[in-house]
């Protein structure tokens, strides 16, 4: 249905797409994979009209097309749903669905007809919501489905899903996938871009891998296993995706207790819960999105106040982030774009920021010292940047995350909280960050790692706490830390599939 031949796109200094081919059949889900910078987004932008290719051709149903804008691509039949839902939360669901095609009489929009049209559009998805309310009132998953409904209604042939599951929890992913399978059955061609390999195996029929702007392989999903897929993406055999951690799970190691938290949280938000953290221990926090796991971290870091903390020397106040930092805590938040990096400041300034804030405004860090610090962490964490003066906003997601990590490592904290440290990061950086976690623990730092990737938790955690329905419900140690035990603890009393 959609065929791309020898597509080339040049940017000053780089060849973003080099003779790339790709084809999509009606009624299939075709996953497009590759590390950051492999050319996935460039390819998609050529398809949606955001970029004009420099060479090659795109054919839709045999006819050559060259969309010049998103709306032109839509008219041709190519619709896109992005990671950050590109709809307007300040308009109603109906307005969003019908935007640009509102039923009108004498130039005036017929509200009632629009509401009906919107309900009709949502019907096939089994979504029964009040379409006259603002889109902003609904969860990300519902917005995602509204976005799909709009894209399908507008385009109807090809649907591109660009990282659609990045901010969804497991139940919502399932709900979304049901919708996608329904569309597939209706004969749409679906391009699926995702970092989550599990989801790729779960949903797609075929896979195309890009690397460094080149086409590497297109294969039926059944013909590939996880390892060979990763090899295609990285171009070299990954030693082991996750360090062999099973041995250390055999025995529960007794560690000197360092921090004790009591009565953290507040009814309705999370907890209250108690937590003891030993020196050099990695505590994992597992749970679905919205289970209260991020809120738990926010209490521990003083972003919310409630509960008390104590170390060997006595009580420590942690009711604001500043106090928590003074107590030697650090927090690398989940959403690094809004909560982590300061985009326009340089790598050097971002790394020095927390240290400078602790020293106070009156004692500036000499520039030479900041530079030394930046050079050290650029090397140690392998931050890929042309130099330390580059604005952090210009780096890739994985490198931004490393800068945020460097900021906290420079503080030499005793207790570091990492909320989804590898989300949205390509496989190479993923492995590096896991390696780093092991290294830090070796140095005696205590960590709290929140992650929705079970493999990751199993790989790094000495102890896993499971959060469900805004309470800490289970604690797994040693050999108990296995995917099946964690899933069982998360799922108990929780009928999967009952959504919205």
């Amino acid at each position: 249905m959609l065929t791309i031949r020898s597509l080339t796109k040049r940017f000053p200094g780089t060849l973003a797409l080099d003779d790339v081919r790709f084809d999509l059949r009606a009624g299939e889900v075709h996953a497009l994979l590759g590390e950051n910078g492999a050319g996935k987004s460039t390819l998609i932008k050529c398809l949606t009209g955001a970029y004009r290719p420099d060479g090659g051709e795109i054919r839709l149903d045999g006819a050559k097309i060259a969309p010049r804008s998103t709306s032109e691509a839509q008219e041709l039949g190519i619709g896109t749903v992005y990671q950050e839902v590109n709809l307007l939360p300040n308009l109603t669901v109906a307005q969003n669905l019908c935007f640009g095609r509102e039923p009108r009489r004498a130039g005036m929009i017929r509200t009632r007809a629009m509401t009906r049209a919107a309900q009709d559009m949502l019907d096939p998805y089994g979504l029964d919501i009040d379409v006259t309310r603002d889109l902003g009132h609904y969860s990300v998953a519902i917005r995602q489905i509204v976005a799909i409904a709009r894209a399908v209604a507008l385009s109807g042939k090809v649907l591109i899903l660009d990282e659609p599951t990045a901010s969804l929890d497991a139940r919502e992913v399932k709900m979304l996938f049901d919708v996608v399978r329904g569309l597939k059955a209706r004969g749409l061609g679906i391009v699926f871009v995702s970092h989550f390999l599990d989801q790729v195996f779960d949903l797609s029929d075929r896979v195309t891998v890009l690397r460094n702007g080149r086409h590497i392989v297109t294969e039926d999903i059944a013909a590939l296993d996880r390892l060979s897929l990763i090899e295609h993406m990285l171009g070299h055999a990954l030693e082991t995706e996750v360090a062999d951690h099973a041995t250390s799970h055999d025995a529960v190691i007794a560690r000197p207790e360092m921090l004790t938290f009591r009565g953290m949280g507040r009814a309705g938000v999370v907890g209250p819960f108690d937590l003891d953290v030993g020196q050099g221990e990695v505590v994992g926090l597992a749970g679905l999105l919205g289970s209260g796991r991020t809120e738990s971290a926010e209490y521990l870091f003083g972003l919310r106040s409630g509960g008390t903390a104590e170390d060997i020397k006595g009580p420590i106040p942690i009711d604001t982030p500043r106090k928590a930092i003074a107590a030697g805590f650090g927090f690398a938040p989940e959403d690094r774009k809004t909560d982590g990096i300061v985009a326009e400041l340089s790598v050097r300034e971002n790394i020095a920021l927390a240290l400078q804030a602790r020293r106070g405004w009156a004692r500036p860090m000499p520039r030479a010292e900041q530079q030394r610090l930046a050079r050290m962490y650029i090397e140690r964490l392998d931050i890929r940047t042309s130099d330390a003066e580059k604005a952090v906003g210009d780096l890739s997601g994985g490198n931004q995350q490393k800068v945020v990590l460097a900021r906290w490592l420079a503080m030499n904290p005793r207790f570091l909280i990492l909320d989804e440290p590898t989300r949205g990061i390509d496989v190479g950086a993923h492995a590096e960050i896991l390696r780093l976690i092991h290294e830090l623990v070796g140095e005696g730092m205590s960590l709290l790692v929140i992650s929705s990737e079970l493999d990751e938790l199993i790989a790094v955690a000495d102890r896993v706490i499971v959060v469900r329905d805004r309470a800490h419900v289970a604690e797994l140690t040693g050999a108990e830390i296995r995917a099946d035990t964690i899933v069982r603890a998360i799922a108990r009393h929780d009928e999967i599939g009952e959504v919205a």
Binding site: R10, P12, G13, L15, L303, P321, R322, I325, F331, P333, T338, D339, G340, I341, V342, A343, E344, L345, E349, A352, L353, A354, Q356, A357, R358, R359, G360, W361, A362, R363, P364, M365, R407
Partner: protein, 340 residues
């Protein structure tokens, strides 16, 4: 030093161009003479008359760097001028009057800062409140009249000279230097920029964003107080209706002409001060060039528009592409490969 000069180059070039333009139409523009122990000449006049806007622009730069804006500074000038005049008349003496006026400015800044940083109101609305209500408060103090006073010491601040230089010019230059040093010799500049770009991330990194924001609005209030004192001293009276009227807009313009982004982040106090001087040179230049006074605003608006267009991000980008295209006729990809 070299780096600072490079950074200020666009503003300096603009200032030079405006000065050149005025000099062409009015050749006596650059003359400076010493008369009765004080320097006189159009340039000196610009330095003196530009004082209120330069002072306001200093504080405004910091506020804008935090992604804020302070619409109330003109009104705060009126309040502080009124407070100073009232205090002089009430026998508080020079020190008392100045102290009271400065406290008034700081309180106004504290009010704005609290609304922005603690209550969480958008800066433009938060400061609009004081902008509207403040003039009423100033009129309340002066009871709707122009409050005049006779006090030579106070008047010296507006019309006296120090080492032959007009005192207002000395005050704004010193304030500007103090602000720039305070920002760049300490870590304040970095912290202000961090808060302006991403307040939440800065707060999570341990920056005390709330206190910093309040401090920045108080600094703006302080600058407005100084400007208000100078203005009142110059006319030997406080005019609650007209003192500082619409000067906040000139100050914002100065900051923007200085190349600072209204979206916060990177800032330069020096660039804003040059911006303030550009505006004042245009104002004075139009008068000197002998245009009928009714043409002033149109010419000013046209010049400002030209400067803004030349400085706009889009224009700069187009200009770079154009120059790159002329310098390197070959496609960019090839250039890379040819490079050693």
């Amino acid at each position: 030093m070299q780096r600072t000069l490079t950074q200020l180059a666009p503003q300096l070039v603009t200032l030079a161009a405006v000065v050149l333009l005025v000099w062409v139409v009015f050749p006596g523009f650059l003359d400076i003479r010493l008369v009765d122990g004080r320097l006189v000449g159009p340039v000196i006049d610009i330095l003196k008359r530009g004082a209120p806007v330069a002072l306001l622009a200093t504080g405004m730069t910091l506020v804008i760097a935090t992604r804020g804006i302070d619409l109330s500074v003109g009104t705060v000038m009126a309040i502080c001028g009124a407070v100073a005049a009232w205090a002089i008349d009430g026998g508080f003496g020079l020190g008392g009057a100045l102290a009271l006026a400065i406290v008034a400015g700081l309180v106004a800044g504290l009010w704005n800062g609290t609304l922005v940083a603690i209550v969480g109101i958008q800066p433009i609305v938060a400061t609009l409140i004081l902008m509207t209500a403040g003039r009423g408060i100033a009129q309340l103090i002066t009871e709707g009249r122009i409050l005049t006073f006779t006090h030579d010491g106070f008047a010296w601040l507006g019309s006296g000279t120090l080492l032959a230089v007009p005192v207002p010019a000395v005050i704004w230059v010193l304030t500007g230097i103090a602000a720039a040093l305070l920002m760049r010799r300490t870590a304040l500049g970095l912290l202000v920029e961090a808060v302006g770009i991403n307040r939440r991330a800065a707060a999570l990194a341990g920056v005390n964003a709330t206190v910093l924001l309040i401090a920045v609005y108080m600094a703006s209030g302080l600058c407005a107080a100084l400007a208000g004192i100078i203005t009142a001293a110059d006319i030997r009276g406080a005019d609650a209706n007209n003192a500082g009227l619409w000067l906040e807009l000139d100050a914002i313009l100065a900051v923007v002409i200085g190349g600072n982004s209204l979206l916060g982040g990177r800032f330069s106090v020096a660039a804003s001060l040059i911006g303030a001087m550009i505006i004042q040179t245009i104002d004075t230049g139009i008068l000197l060039a002998g245009f009928p006074s009714e043409y002033n605003l149109v010419i000013k608006a046209a010049l400002v528009l030209v400067i803004l267009v030349l400085q706009s991000p889009r224009f700069a980008a187009e200009w770079r592409t154009w120059r790159a295209a002329r310098a390197e006729p070959r496609p960019a990809g090839q250039v890379q490969e040819d490079a050693p």
